[in-house]
C-alpha cells in the first residue's frame, strides 16, 4: 500500500517540487507574477468564489426543500443532484457551451438582451457552478436532516418571526456545513479544467483560467512555466484543504 502511494503520489509530487526548486527564486517569482499569470489567477479565483457563493445560496435552498418538503419526484430530484459527479466534465462543458451559446436554447433568449454566457467569464462561472453544486447540497443535507423541527417550532411559538427563526435558530448550526460545502466547491472549481476549457473562449486576460494556462505552457514545452503556475495552484489546493479541516473541527462544537 505504501509502495503504491509512494509511486503514485509522492514520486510525482517530489518531481514537481524539485523541478520548481531548479528555478531561482527570482525566476520563479517573475513567472508566477507575470501579467498573464496574474490575470488567470484573477479570473480563476474570483469566478470560482462567485460560483461557490451562488451555489452556497441555492444549494442550501435545494437541501432545505429536499429535506423539509414533500412533493412529486422528490426522490428523483434528490438522486439527480449527484449528476455533476457522474457526468464526465467534457460532456458538461460541451452541453453548457451549446445551451448557452447564441443559438442555444437559453443563450438565444439572452442574446437579444445583450447577455452572452458561453465563451465568456459567465460561461466559466456557470460550468464551475455546475460541478460544485453537489458539494454544497451534500454537506448541508445531512446536517439539516439531523436538526429537529421542534427547535424552530419552539422559536415560532415564543413569537419569533420567520426571519428571526432563520437567522437565530436555523443558520448557526448549519453555518459550518454551509462553509465547508462552499470551500469544497470552491477548491473543486479552482482546479476544474474539462468543462471550463470547452465553455470558455480561452482568451488571455478575459476568460483564460490558470489550469488552461498550465496546459498551454506544456503544449509549448515550457515545463518551467507550467510548473510554476502548477505550484501556485497546488499551494492553493493545500491551503483550501487546511481551511476545510479547520472549518470541520470548528463545526464539531455543535456535535457535543
Amino acid at each position: 500500500m505504501f509502495g503504491y502511494l509512494a509511486f503514485m503520489l509522492f514520486l510525482p509530487t517530489a518531481a514537481m517540487l524539485t523541478k520548481s526548486l531548479t528555478l531561482k527564486p527570482a525566476e520563479f517569482w517573475q513567472i508566477a507574477t507575470s501579467a498573464i499569470a496574474l490575470s488567470t489567477y484573477n479570473v480563476t479565483f474570483t469566478t470560482s468564489l462567485l460560483a461557490a457563493l451562488i451555489d452556497g445560496v441555492f444549494g442550501v435552498l435545494i437541501a432545505w426543500v429536499l429535506v423539509r418538503y414533500r412533493f412529486p419526484f422528490r426522490k428523483l430530484i434528490d438522486a439527480s443532484i449527484d449528476l455533476p459527479f457522474a457526468l464526465p466534465t467534457a460532456v458538461a462543458g460541451l452541453t453548457l457551451a451549446t445551451v448557452y451559446s447564441d443559438q442555444g436554447w437559453i443563450g438565444s433568449l439572452l442574446a437579444p438582451l445583450g447577455i452572452k454566457i458561453a465563451f465568456t467569464r459567465f460561461g466559466v462561472g456557470l460550468a464551475m457552478m455546475f460541478i460544485s453544486l453537489p458539494f454544497v447540497v451534500r454537506t448541508v443535507q445531512p446536517v439539516l436532516m439531523q436538526m429537529e423541527q421542534e427547535t424552530e417550532e419552539a422559536a415560532w411559538s415564543l413569537g419569533a418571526s420567520p426571519w428571526q427563526t432563520f437567522w437565530r435558530v436555523l443558520l448557526p448550526p448549519l453555518f459550518p456545513a454551509i462553509l465547508t460545502g462552499i470551500a469544497l466547491g470552491f477548491s473543486r472549481a479552482v482546479g476544474e479544467y474539462g468543462s471550463t476549457v470547452i465553455v470558455s473562449s480561452n482568451t488571455p486576460f478575459k476568460d483564460l483560467i490558470a489550469p488552461v494556462l498550465i496546459f498551454q505552457r506544456l503544449e509549448q514545452y515550457d515545463y518551467a512555466g507550467a510548473t510554476v503556475i502548477g505550484m501556485v495552484l497546488l499551494m492553493i489546493s493545500l491551503f483550501m484543504l487546511l481551511v476545510i479541516n479547520f472549518i470541520q473541527a470548528w463545526g464539531k462544537r455543535y456535535d457535543g
Binding site: L5, A86, F130, W156, G191, G194, V197, L218, L233
Partner: protein, 294 residues
C-alpha cells in the same frame, strides 16, 4: 355565516403570532420548491436533456453512423481499457489502505487520511503535469526511458497513470467508515475461534463491507471513464492512438464535428445515468439515510 364578525377579533387578540406565519406557510414551500427547480433546470436539467436532443434530433441514422466511425470505436476501447486497469488497481489499494487505517490509532493517522484524499484536492491538470515531469522528455526518468526505448508519455501507460491517480481515494473513502462502524469484535471473535486471517477476511470482513466496497468501485469507475483534464495533459491527444472517449468529445467539438461529439457524449451520459441508478440502489442496501459527498 352569522358569526363571521368574530374572526378578526380572534385573530388580532387571542391567537399566538404563529397563526400569521401559518397562513404564509402555504405559499412559502411552493415558492421555495419552484425557485430550487428553476435553478436546477437552468444548471443541470436543461443541459442534460440537451445532450440527448443534440445526439438524436436528426434521427437514429446519423447517430448510428457516428458510432461506427473507427476513431470513435478506438476511443471507446481506450476508455474501457483505462478503466479495466485503473479500477482493479485502486480497489486493491483502497482495500489495503482501509484495512491498515480503520480501527487503528497511531500518530499521523489523520495526516495519512488527508494525504490519501490529495488526488481530489489537486487539479487534474496539475496531476497530469506531475506525470509529465516524471516521465516526460525532460523529466526525472526521461533520459533513461528514451535510452531504453520505453514510451510512457503521449502513450497508454501515462494515460493509465493519470486515470489511476485521479480515481485513487474512492474505495478507501467508502470502506473505512464501514469498517469503523462495524468495529473489530466480529474479527476478534473469528480469531479466537481459530480462523486464519485469510478466512476471517473472506468469511467475516468481506460480507460486511461488500456494499460499501461496490459503492467505492462504482465511483472509481465513473471517474476513471470520465476523466478529461489529467489524461488530456499526458496523452498528446492523437486521434486513433491516445484518445479516450472524453478526449474524443472535445476534439470532435473543436473540429466542428458537433454531431460526433454528441454521439460520444450520449454514451458517457448513459454511463452517468447507470452510475446514479446503481448508486441509489447501493445507498438503499447500505441503509444510508443521507447521501455523502465525495
Amino acid at each position: 355565516m352569522t358569526d363571521r364578525g368574530i374572526e378578526p377579533v380572534l385573530q388580532t387578540s387571542d391567537l399566538p403570532p404563529r397563526y400569521g406565519t401559518q397562513t404564509k406557510e402555504s405559499w412559502i414551500p411552493t415558492l421555495f420548491i419552484v425557485i430550487a427547480l428553476i435553478f436546477l433546470a437552468l444548471v443541470l436539467y436543461i443541459p442534460a436533456i440537451n445532450v440527448f436532443y443534440e445526439a438524436f434530433h436528426k434521427g437514429l441514422g446519423p447517430f448510428l453512423h457516428n458510432l461506427s466511425e473507427p476513431n470513435f470505436q478506438y476511443a471507446v476501447r481506450m476508455t474501457v481499457a483505462l478503466a479495466a486497469i485503473a479500477v482493479p488497481l485502486n480497489t486493491i489499494f483502497g482495500l489495503c489502505t482501509a484495512w491498515a487505517l480503520a480501527n487503528k490509532h497511531f500518530r499521523g493517522r489523520t495526516l495519512l487520511l488527508s494525504i490519501i484524499d490529495l488526488p481530489f484536492a489537486i487539479s487534474p491538470v496539475v496531476a497530469g503535469l506531475m506525470i509529465m515531469l516524471l516521465y516526460g522528455r525532460q523529466g526525472w526518468f526521461g533520459a533513461w526511458l528514451i535510452e531504453h526505448n520505453i514510451k510512457i508519455v503521449f502513450a497508454f501507460p501515462a494515460m493509465m497513470l493519470a486515470t489511476a491517480f485521479v480515481s485513487m481515494p474512492f474505495v478507501a473513502r467508502e470502506v473505512i467508515p464501514v469498517l469503523e462502524e462495524e468495529g473489530t469484535s466480529q474479527e476478534e471473535a473469528a480469531y479466537t475461534l481459530g480462523a486464519t486471517p485469510w478466512q476471517t477476511f473472506w468469511r467475516v470482513t468481506a460480507p460486511n463491507i461488500r456494499w460499501g466496497l461496490l459503492y467505492g468501485v462504482l465511483l472509481t469507475n465513473a471517474r476513471a471513464m470520465g476523466e478529461f483534464g489529467a489524461v488530456s495533459v499526458v496523452s498528446g491527444n492523437i486521434m486513433g492512438q491516445t484518445q479516450s472517449l472524453p478526449l474524443f468529445v472535445e476534439e470532435a467539438y473543436k473540429s466542428y464535428n458537433t454531431e460526433a461529439a454528441y454521439a460520444a457524449s450520449v454514451l458517457l451520459a448513459l454511463l452517468a445515468v447507470v452510475t446514479l441508478v446503481l448508486k441509489e440502489i447501493l445507498e438503499r442496501r447500505t441503509g444510508r439515510g443521507a447521501k455523502k459527498i465525495h
